[in-house]
C-alpha cells in the first residue's frame, strides 16, 4: 500500500450503496442494506460473518452473477453489469467442467479469447506449474482430490488473467490439513501475481492468516459492521501472541453482535 496522500488515489474496486432484496414468495428479504466498500489493487480482503449476513450475495454481486437492487459496483469506475473475465470466481464446490481434463479446464478462458495455440499452451503450463499440477494435466476432475480440484479452479481464473479473485468459502469443504496447505499456496500465488483477492469465509483464523483487511458483516439485514486492517507481519504464525490478540478482537466483534441480537429477539 502506498502512503502517497498528495494525489487522489484512483479506487480500484468500489461497492457503493449496494442494497439487495430477494423476493421469496410474498415476502421480501433484505439480504444487503447500503453496503459500501472500496479496495485497492492487490489488496487481500476477507469478508467474514455468520450465515445469512449476505457475504456470499455481496461476492456474487461483485462477480456480476446477481444485480444489486440499488447501488453500484465498479472496477476502475466501470460499472459492473454482468460476469466478466476481469473478475474470476472460485466456488466452494469447484464448478470445474467435469468433461474437461485439468489442462482443458485451465485453458478454457484463454481458448474463449481465441489466442494462438502456442500462447494458450504456454499460459496453461505456467499456471499448471504454479498450482503444482503439471503431472495431473490429463486427469479429469473426478479423478482428483478436493484440494487438487480447488487448485485447478484457482489456476483456471488466473489463466484467464482476472484482476480480482473472488473466493466463496473456497476451502470450506476441505479437511484441516489440506485447508492450511492451500492457504499457504494461495498466499504464495497472491504474492507472485499481486492479484486482488476478496475471500469469503466464516473462519476468523483463516481471515486473519490471509488478509490485509477483515470486513466483518452482520445479518438481518446484511451490512458491514467493521472494517479491520490486519497489520501483522507476514508470514503469520497462528500460535503467536499478537495473532491471538487480533483473532480474539474479531471474534468478539462477531459474537457480541450475535449476542445482542439474540437478546433483542428474546425481549
Amino acid at each position: 500500500m502506498d502512503n502517497d496522500t498528495a494525489r487522489p488515489r484512483r479506487q480500484f474496486l468500489t461497492v457503493r450503496d449496494v442494497t439487495k432484496t430477494f423476493q421469496i414468495g410474498a415476502d421480501s428479504v433484505e439480504a444487503l442494506r447500503r453496503v459500501n466498500l472500496t479496495m485497492d489493487k492487490g489488496e487481500f480482503v476477507c469478508l467474514i460473518g455468520a450465515s445469512g449476513c449476505g457475504k456470499s450475495t455481496l461476492l456474487r454481486i461483485i462477480a456480476g452473477f446477481e444485480q444489486p437492487s440499488s447501488g453500484q459496483v465498479s472496477v476502475y469506475e466501470h460499472p459492473v453489469t454482468g460476469p466478466g473475465s476481469d473478475r474470476g470466481m472460485v466456488f466452494q464446490d469447484y464448478a470445474l467442467f467435469p468433461w474437461m481434463t485439468v489442462r482443458e479446464n485451465i485453458s478454457f478462458g484463454p481458448r474463449q479469447k481465441g489466442l494462438p495455440k502456442e500462447r494458450i499452451r504456454a499460459i496453461t503450463d505456467e499456471y499448471l506449474n504454479m498450482v503444482g499440477l503439471a503431472n495431473f494435466s490429463d486427469r479429469f476432475p473426478q479423478q482428483l482430490s478436493g484440494g487438487m480440484k480447488q487448485r485447478v479452479a484457482i489456476a483456471r481464473v488466473l489463466a484467464n488473467e482476472c484482476e480480482v479473485l473472488l473466493m466463496d468459502e473456497p476451502f470450506g469443504a476441505l479437511d484441516a490439513l489440506t485447508r492450511e496447505k492451500l492457504q499457504q499456496e494461495l498466499l504464495e500465488i497472491w504474492t507472485r501475481t499481486r492479484v486482488t483477492v476478496i475471500f469469503v469465509t466464516h473462519s476468523v483464523e483463516e481471515a486473519v492468516v490471509l488478509s490485509d483487511r477483515v470486513v466483518v458483516m452482520t445479518a438481518g439485514p446484511g451490512r458491514i459492521e467493521a472494517d479491520i486492517p490486519i497489520e501483522l507481519a507476514r508470514p503469520r504464525e497462528v500460535s503467536a501472541i499478537d495473532f491471538n490478540q487480533v483473532r480474539r478482537d474479531i471474534t468478539l466483534r462477531l459474537t457480541s453482535h450475535v449476542a445482542s441480537r439474540s437478546v433483542a429477539l428474546a425481549a
Binding site: G84, D93, A95, F97, R139, Q142, G146, A173, L174, K181
Partner: protein
C-alpha cells in the same frame, strides 16, 4: 442426476486420484460374467425344448426346428422357398429403416431438446404441444402415415422416427435442465457466451443424459420396425414375421424375432462403446 461437479464430501488430500475410477476387472471375473450370460439363455432353450416335447404341441416349433429355419434363412438349401437365403435382403432393408428413422430422430431431437431445455420462449412455445402429442401411441399414427407416405418404406421410417424421437428429445431436455447452474456461471465469467455456451457447456454437460435417450430410442426403433413393416412393404424382418404369421410358420416368426434381437443387441453394444468413449470423464455413466 449425479453430476460430478457437486462434490460435498471432501476427498482425501494428496494422491487420492485414480481411486474414483473403477478397478481393473480380473480375467476370471470376466470369464465368470461371460459364462453366466451364456448359461441363462442356454437353460431357456433347453426349457423351451422340453416344454414343446412334453406338451406335444404342433403350434410351437422346437429350438432345433428354428435352428434349421435360421440356417435356411441365412444360407438356403433346406426348404428352398421364398425365404431361403434371404436374410441379407431383409436385414439390410430393416436396418436402413431403423437407422434412417433413428438418425432422423437424433438430427431433430438433440438440437430441439437443447433449445427447449435452454431457451425459455422456445420451451413455452413447443413444450405443451409436444407433451400433448407424446401420449399418442405410435401405432395410432399408422393409418395417417400410410396416407402421408404411401405404402412403402418411408412410412416405416416415419414410424421409427416417431418412436425414437421422444426418448431422445425428453432426455436431452432433462440433461440440459439438470446442468449445474454454477457451470454456466463459471463459463460466463471465463468469457463464454451465446452459441459457444451451447457447444462448449450445454451439449457436453447434457451428454450423459443424451446417451441414455439414444439407448432407449434405439430400442424403440427396433420395436417399431415390425409395426412399420406391417404397412405392406415386401422386405424387412417385420414383413418376414408378418408373412410367417399369415402362413402359420412359427419357425419363421421366431427366426425373425431372433435376428431382430441379435441386430438390436449388436447396435446397442456399439452405442454403449461410443458412450464409454465419449463419457470417459464419468465412469458412473458407463454402460
Amino acid at each position: 442426476m449425479s453430476q460430478s461437479s457437486i462434490t460435498t464430501a471432501p476427498a482425501a488430500s494428496g494422491i487420492a486420484a485414480g481411486a474414483a475410477m473403477p478397478g481393473r476387472v480380473w480375467p476370471q471375473e470376466r470369464a465368470q460374467g461371460i459364462l453366466l450370460a451364456i448359461a441363462f439363455p442356454v437353460a431357456l432353450v433347453v426349457l423351451w425344448h422340453l416344454l414343446v416335447v412334453m406338451s406335444g404341441t404342433r403350434l410351437v416349433p422346437t429350438p432345433y426346428r428354428v435352428g434349421v429355419m435360421m440356417y435356411d434363412f441365412a444360407f438356403g438349401g433346406v426348404y428352398d422357398d421364398a425365404f431361403s437365403g434371404t436374410i441379407v435382403i431383409h436385414l439390410l432393408a430393416s436396418m436402413q429403416r431403423v437407422y434412417g428413422g433413428f438418425a432422423l430422430a437424433i438430427i431433430i431431437g438433440i438440437p430441439l431438446g437443447l433449445l427447449i431445455g435452454k431457451v425459455r420462449i422456445i420451451r413455452q412455445m413447443l413444450d405443451p404441444t409436444l407433451s400433448l402429442l407424446r401420449p399418442i401411441p405410435v401405432t395410432a399414427w399408422l393409418p395417417l402415415s400410410m396416407i402421408f407416405f404411401g405404402l412403402g418404406p418411408r412410412s416405416a421410417v416415419f414410424l421409427v422416427f416417431l418412436g425414437a424421437f421422444y426418448p431422445i428429445l425428453l432426455n436431452t431436455i432433462f440433461g440440459v435442465r439438470s446442468v449445474d447452474l454454477r457451470l454456466f456461471e463459471a463459463a460466463s465469467m471465463l468469457g463464454c457466451d451465446g452459441s459457444r455456451m451451447f457447444r462448449q457447456v450445454v451439449l457436453p454437460a447434457a451428454t450423459p443424459s443424451i446417451f441414455n435417450g439414444l439407448r432407449l430410442a434405439h430400442g424403440f426403433a427396433w420395436i417399431l420396425i415390425v409395426v412399420g413393416e406391417m404397412t405392406g412393404v415386401p422386405t424387412g424382418l417385420g414383413s418376414v414375421i408378418m408373412d410367417g404369421r399369415t402362413l402359420s410358420r412359427t419357425d419363421l416368426v421366431i427366426t425373425g424375432m431372433i435376428v431382430i434381437g441379435v441386430a438390436g443387441f449388436i447396435t446397442d453394444r456399439i452405442i454403449v462403446s461410443i458412450n464409454n468413449r465419449v463419457l470417459r470423464w464419468s465412469p458412473q455413466h458407463h454402460g
